[in-house]
Amino acid sequence: MDVSQYLEIFLDETKEHLQSLNENLLVIEKEPENKDTINEIFRAAHSLKGMAGTMGFKRMQRLTHDMENIFSEIRNDKMTVTADLIDVLFQCLDALEGYLDIIQSTANEGENDNEAIINRLNEILQAGTAGGPAPAAAPAEAAPASAEAAAPAGGGSADQEKFRNIELTEEQKKAVLKADEGGLNLYGLSVYINTSCLLKAARAFLVLKAMEDFGEILVTNPSNQDLEDEKFDFDFSLYVMSSEPLDKLIEAAKGISEIENVVGAKVAPGELDKKPEAAAAPKEEAPKEEEKAEVAAPAPAAAPAAPAAPKAKAASEAPAQTANKPVVSRTVRVDIEKLDDLMNQVSELIIAKNSLVSISSTEENSAAQNQTFHEQIEYLERITTSLHESVMKVRMVPIESVVNRFPRMIRDLSKKLNKKMELYMSGEDTELDRTVIDEIGDPLMHLLRNSADHGLESAEIRKERGKPEVGSIWLTAYQEGNSVIIEVKDDGNGIDVEKVKQKGIERGIITPEQADNMSSKEIIDLLFLPSFSMAKQISDISGRGVGLDVVKSKIESLSGEVEVKSTQGEGSKFTIRLPLTLAIIQALMVEIGNEKYAISLGSIQTIEDVAYDDIKYVEAKEVINLRGTVIPLIRMDEILEVEPREEKPESLTVVIVKKGDRFAGLIIDNLMGQQEIVIKSLGKYIENNKVISGATILGDGEVALILDVNALI
């Protein structure tokens, strides 16, 4: 069976299950008696196993199977949750993630059997249930028992062929006979859906859809309408006419997630009439017996302790087939509402286009026509703006998908470092562009590790200092204007400025004289320089000397910025500021000399007219006092080496820009207006000392450069 088309769904769903396992294990670790969570874990492990089995990933299936055994015992109160067990289970999850990574890149699960982990699992299982009742003694036996409990479909195959109870109308029978003459086969199928499935109707729909690919669905029981309305238990039956072999149909149906089992048989048209007998005594006919054996064989696959021959064959074939396929494409799950919005706007766009067409086709060239023309252009502008917003929204992903793995990481770190710590997260629903989301994980992880490793003190020191024994790390995300802020804060030791200074001098990054003149903020910024690692000794958690500078360059490559605030003894706070969108921004177009430049609207505070008399001097630098704040002025024509204009204006036009809590006033010659611009890169050949962050193409085809305000301040 070719399962590659389900690979994407499989990867998505497996990731979700793994995440929920991770989260729930964390809960269990704290509340070992929490029954609901144990049930949830069991369900997730069970679906994981089923999915892996369906996809033919045997190693993955085996591991999840053994995990499931454990959960089953816990659920039945035959075992208790121990710290040791949790550790092994977390290792299992890591191993599963490993499989998943390999599958994602090669569509194959790789060769790692993870024997060690499986052995550990079985040891624990045996130890935990040694005194327990007999059925749990041998783990291999416990498996079918638990699987059967979870899957009521595991009964005898005779009960399963419920399709034999379907009654066909005379017309349908005629159609069957006709089809039979045409060389089509009639198959009866009964589909059993996993009892934990929430969207039975959707799964049923998928099955029917898959079957339609092979042939014509004659009839379903319950009726199509009832299936759609979810008016059925966990099974349904159908007759399909198809020229494909039965195995293919069954495998296709099984490939759909949460389908527990599918049984089917070829039905000769003649058999339809004596249906009741066939159901009552199916062993009468010899040829049918054979077919049934074939059909019954895949059935135990639901109880994966004994994967039957055809199943195993499918499993070994599937990876071979998919191995050559290109690696899975990446997908985004989009809220249907967002798509509806998008559709609406596209409809509006078409209306606008039609009105423009009709205007251009009318002959007269009156003032009235001119006016409608302008109205339509304005309308078009509105639509494109909102269309842009909508498309951006579609690309937006909640930051949750990145940060939800951190609690687990902090738990592991806590064990490894032997420090007590707690992670508090908020604002997980803050949304960021998909490209940013993909990149932001590593830097955040670095910062969290930093906090855990260097920031937080050991419990003894914390006690001495009168702090709570358990250290706290906060991860906070929120939106501010056109950017998203992510803060990583800890209540640890803070950054030792003196030590950083010493290190900087030692490394030859700064001279002692320079060091004396540097503010503590400037010294802390040294941490972001390449190969500046503060760890006294290299640990595998942080401190390889590739820490903060990597964080900084990564975030800068996303056109964001990172800032540190630290108070010695109280903790430190890293603030990451990222732009909401990357490609298109609102900008203020200005003229400096005869050249046009764009300034991102996001960084502009106000625009001021400043009289020459208002310019004051501080340390021979020009400043203005704007409503109580002293703001340094930057003469843009000098910075950009533009030929200054001949005539001097009566007053200066100053654009006040802000970066973090710092301000600067950019002196420009002329304001041109606000515009939406598409950011283009200047390429790698040209140097510009960072005053220019990119370029854009204006309506007349001219290129205008975008000023990098962050570099100017």
Binding site: E595, Y685, I686, A695, I697, V703
Partner: protein, 157 residues
């Protein structure tokens, strides 16, 4: 049989190379045609502040922003005087993106046999060389540009 002919075909392409001949200053230069993406007329170049002096700025090439370099300044010749014959040659070196070279005039396309090309060994590393060979064509000499070194950043002193 078929294989033989195709092999011979490949064989013949190796023995010749096509160059576009351009005038820069008083010299004739050849640019390997395989790297050339496009030749466009002079157009408004947007200056990029603080860039290397030989970068004249950027242009809009069908919606892409392409940096433009003055080969004259790069080679230490007198600055360009844009005339009616001035052209920007857009070259593309692998994945590194496009770059434009300003030349005084584009003359012709020549096909040089490999034995018409004298390779210059670049052993004297003290001075930067932008030429990797001299081509002889109809009694005239053509300096063949080494695009990699033209485009590469100046060595840091």
């Amino acid at each position: 049989m078929d294989e033989n002919t195709s092999r011979r075909k490949i064989g013949t392409t190796v023995t010749t190379k096509q160059y576009i001949v351009v005038n820069i200053g008083s010299e004739r230069y050849g640019i390997d045609i395989t790297y050339i993406d496009n030749i466009v007329r002079m157009q408004k170049i947007t200056r990029v502040p603080k860039a290397q002096d030989y970068f004249k700025g950027v242009i809009n090439l069908r919606g892409e922003v392409v940096p433009v370099m003055s080969v004259r300044v790069r080679m230490g010749l007198a600055p360009d005087e844009y005339t009616n014959t001035s052209r920007i040659i857009i070259i593309k070196l692998e994945q590194q993106g496009s770059i434009g070279l300003i030349v005084d005039e584009v003359q012709e396309v020549v096909t040089l046999d490999l034995n018409e090309i004298d390779r210059i060994s670049r052993d004297n590393t003290s001075t930067e060389s932008f030429i990797n060979g001299i081509g002889k064509h109809e009694g005239q000499l053509i300096s063949l540009l080494e695009l990699q070194s033209v485009v590469a950043e100046k060595a840091v002193q």
